[in-house]
Symmetry: C2
DNA sequence: TAATTAATTAGATGAATATCGAATTAATTT
DNA sequence: AAATTAATTCGATATTCATCTAATTAATTA
């Protein structure tokens, strides 16, 4: 569900002392003093670690006299573990990432202000991005004679023959008897 | 199994950028450049993150041309998740921790060099530690008359009556008809 | 072969944080 | 009420590390 809560969880466990605390509390509840003696740390340090673990929902405290008895919240551990195993939860972490950023970068890197291409990319990966972009200039369901195709491609680069060949090779344009048309559903991603 | 490998795992995921990388690779393989563009980071930074993830066994690279295509190692994720869910794996994290350190600390805090007690602890938790220690001075299977019990207890503290009463109250010593004997299996932990 | 390009490595810098000692708070014992 | 005690909080310090730029390596294209 939550984005930063997962990060807090991993940050909480990304420390040798805190990991040991989790291991100890998995066996039995302990007070701050006991943990400090076993880990050979100052109580203030252990208190700090427990606060972090508590903020991540991994431990909870129960006051007993003037002791504070800490216990492990196994449910939290289980929740996260199950999330790591689920197929959908992982991609959700990157939900707010801009997936098209790379394509845009390639496009601006190779385009002049007027929209024409500086050069035709040599790398397959970049060429594909450019070709997908060019394909958007073709209407679906329309059949273009070669002369019109060249007119459109000339807006991008003088070497229309190469562009035409690559568009067909990439499966973005189809050709038959001197006529061309856009392949359905080839508007966007690779 | 391994101790520091688990720590490496959590450290690897304890960063917002790396967590996003995992989320992205969960959908599809990407090159360093693509990830850099999507995350708005320099390729060198992404490379550094991928190295960390790789060291933790979370991703692997496949050379393709002069691209490096990174993919997620879901098996590693599954292994750790299952370990988090298992009852035995968690306590194993603290296998090398000195569990008796607290008891030893209490013992030295309250003992004089000759082994006698400075005072009898007021806190239940500490009193129990001391009582367990004293109980070790009694042989199993042996019945002690009260006079002998007092002789042994006097080595620890003059207030033998209190010690005797507490030992019985804690269930470490049993009494019947003026004779005392050690309760089986009460030698050590609380 | 020379120029370009993806990726990694090295070095530098600033931010986060693990740990400690001291001060404070709250509960217990005398 | 005064003294003791467990725990937390605060301030300081040293370390770890995320990120950047620059340099280097390795592969591809011209």
């Amino acid at each position: 569900m939550d984005d930063s809560q997962l990060l807090d969880f991993f940050k909480a466990l990304a420390d040798a002392s805190r990991l040991k605390i989790i291991g100890l509390l998995a066996q039995e509840s302990f007070t701050v003093e006991q943990l400090a003696a076993m880990l050979k740390l100052r109580p203030s340090t252990v208190s700090h670690h427990l606060a972090r673990l508590s903020k991540a929902g991994l431990v909870s405290a129960r006051a007993e006299g003037y002791y504070n008895l800490y216990r492990l919240e196994t449910s939290k551990l289980e929740t996260i573990a199950r999330r790591m195993l689920s197929r959908e939860a992982l991609p959700a972490i990157a939900a707010d990432v801009d997936l098209e950023a790379y394509d845009r970068k390639v496009l601006t890197d190779f385009s002049n202000p007027d929209g024409s291409l500086k050069t035709i990319p040599a790398q397959r990966k970049k060429l594909t991005v450019i070709l997908c972009h060019i394909a958007k200039s073709f209407e679906p369901e329309v059949r273009y004679p070669e002369k019109e195709v060249n007119q459109i491609l000339a807006r991008f680069h003088q070497d229309t023959a190469t562009l035409r060949r690559e568009l067909v090779g990439a499966g973005l344009l189809e050709r038959q008897r001197g006529e061309y048309w856009k392949v359905q559903g080839s508007g966007n991603r690779v």
